[in-house]
Amino acid sequence: MKTYLPPKFLVERDQDKCIKCEVCVNQCSFDNHYYDAEDDEMKTRTEGCVGCHRCVTFCPTGALTVRRNPLEYRDNYNWRPEYIEDIIKQAETGGVLLTGMGNDKGQRIYWDHLVLNASQVTNPSIDPLREPMELTTYLGRKPDRVELDTDLNLQTELAPQVKLEVPVMFAAMSYGAVSLNVHESLARAATEAGTLWNTGEGGLHPKLYKYGNNTIVQVASGRFGVHPEYLEVARVVEIKIGQGAKPGIGGHLPGEKVSAEVSATRMIPQGTDALSPAPQHDIYSIEDLAQLVYALKEATHYTKPVSVKIAAVHNSAAIASGMVRAGADIIVLDGLRGATGAAPKVIRDNVGIPIELALASVDTRLRQEGIRNRASIVVSGGIRNSGDVAKAIALGADAVYIGTAALIALGCRLCQQCHTGKCAWGICTTDLFLSKRVNPDIGARRLANLLRGWSLELKDMLGGMGINALESLRGNRLHLRGVGLTETELKILGVKMAGE
């Protein structure tokens, strides 16, 4: 069928600069560039361009640029090009529209409507370059009360705690969705920075067991690669109930991505689809969740915190309360803008709630019920910079997960082609030729650099507020003010209007 889809981008080549080195041909995994022998010229099939900038970045003479296709539709606020083109695609395929990365729609981003405080005159700010400043965070259940004996030795038995040097962890991205080199980059950066990375639901390659102390392993509905050793090497075990990019639906790693190595790590035959059922079929209630939480605690001899991750949805606060009561030591909320290797577009863009509101309401609810100490809260889904991190901490988070931001550090340009397995940056693919593009030495460096930069910025913000430990910001919403928010939004966020 002839496609009615117009090209999304135009690739322009400055023929004066082009030296016909064919780097672009090799770099474009979507096969858009080619050498035309008849004209002795490099050419481009522009209609296949996804705007990933790989060729632009690697063209040695800077001969290439990519522009949005200027082809205009008649103005129509209702029928925007995206909706028109989605219909064209479905008319041509009859399928569920699949996409990658996170929600790109315009739902309000509350981080942009929250501002932080700073000390002026009445209390001094602190200079983090010269004075000690602490970002240390402990994840895990905190006791209801602490008892000391007369020599001030701790009498209370503490639940397992995990120490983070920086309250930013790498979000779950499964091996299979991303390449092994990405996993290695994340693992090494997390180890260097004193934080944790998360295997996602596709198992852990034995080569990475040595980073176990900085690893969160996931147990999801597919139970891929879950075996005693996997649980044993981990620092934290996380039960994945849901994911912000696709709340309520399962996963589906297509057979093409199940290479020999992926098959070995997931422990499934090569080339078969890896289906993650929508629910975990041993969890239909909070009581069932408690059963799996404690099964994992039993399996790991009560030595590791068990985390439970859900997508942020309408009743998150009540669900979170149940999760804490079910024995979760860490609860993870993944918001509307959380990303994915593949999800139906209609789900990604329409299901779930913004993380800022979910976080505020969960923190409030757990405090009201007097059980906030029993679990750490970790949030994810749209954390873009250290400012978002500071605001999340002030709203009540103990730590955050970053997924998209980490991938951008590795080269990702948000072209949203993750589900095709053709990621030109070698990130979201298991193709051996492409995945070599992420060199774990360089990848780990870039990620560790990002965390270092954010740590320094967090310390700057703390110092400006006149506090010297992240602990003093945690859940302290007085350090936040809202801008351009309604009464209801301010109420849910638990912050005052700027100027108040």
Binding site: I268, L275, H281, E298
Partner: protein, 253 residues
């Protein structure tokens, strides 16, 4: 808790009445680590996760009713239950054996990747759901009675045998093998096509099937004192996945 002193070759008996599961399992783990080979648990009343973290080939015999998630994440032990098992038996089991002289509840063998489970009588809903196999790891679930709906749902590997001895091969389960994309189900007797998931095909048994089935039924019969030949006389059918990629064609890019 009263425990005979550890002498590895001897059977160690534990009276489990009134003992909380966490304490019971910690005790089992300690015994297993100290080299105990045979442990008997008496008066078991619903204690969960028995066998979960033993990770060695110890023999545990249970008298009573073990609780949910018996042998969850199990690697190695052989558990024999004189009584009924509840839900989640063999959940994500990796290796070992569970033999139940009675019934079992829902989601038995959920996501199991290895080991063997034999149930003398019937099981609940979604038995063998998402069992999967990898290389030499192939989970086996043999059920003497019958099963409820969604038997073998999402099955990705392994072998499931349903004998229907209590109903002479009449099975009432519906949605059998829904989403199945690997493994095989041998069913004694017959099943109507409306009872099957649409991803499932039905076939006669081949030579290799019959060999495997004879071996598994032989083990089943030996555990529970049946005559394997009698069981095998009856007609069996084979249920198999029509595609390894049942949902490969519903997406557009």
């Amino acid at each position: 808790m009263k425990v005979t002193e550890t002498i590895p070759e001897e059977t160690i008996k534990i009276d489990a009445s009134g003992i909380y599961y966490r304490e019971l399992n910690a005790r089992l783990r300690e015994l297993a680590q100290n080299g105990a080979r045979k442990i008997e648990l008496h008066n078991v009343y619903g204690q969960r996760y028995i066998g979960t973290n033993l990770n060695r080939p110890v023999e545990v015999t249970i008298f009573g009713t073990p609780g949910n998630d018996l042998g969850a994440f199990m690697e190695g032990p052989r558990i024999t239950v004189y009584g009924n098992a509840q839900d989640g038996c063999g959940n994500t089991m990796n290796d070992g054996e569970i033999i139940i002289h009675g019934h079992a509840g829902d989601v038995i063998g959920l996501s199991a990747r290895g080991g063997k489970i034999f149930v003398r009588d019937s099981v609940g809903y979604r038995a063998g759901i998402h069992m999967k196999e990898y290389q030499d790891k192939k989970p086996i679930l043999v059920i003497g009675g019958t099963a409820q709906d969604f038997l073998g749902e999402y099955m990705a590997g392994g072998t499931l045998v349903l004998l229907g001895l209590n109903r002479e091969g009449h099975h009432k389960a519906k949605f059998v093998g829904t989403g199945m994309h690997g493994g095989v189900i041998y069913l004694r007797g017959n099943i109507e096509s409306y009872q099957l998931g649409k991803e499932v095909g039905v076939a006669e048994l081949g030579e290799a099937d019959r060999e495997l089935l004879a071996r598994l039924v032989g083990e089943f019969a030996a555990h529970f004192g049946y005559n394997a030949d009698e069981i095998l006389k009856h007609k069996f059918i084979k249920l198999f996945p029509l595609s390894l990629r049942p949902y490969g064609r519903i997406y557009a890019h």
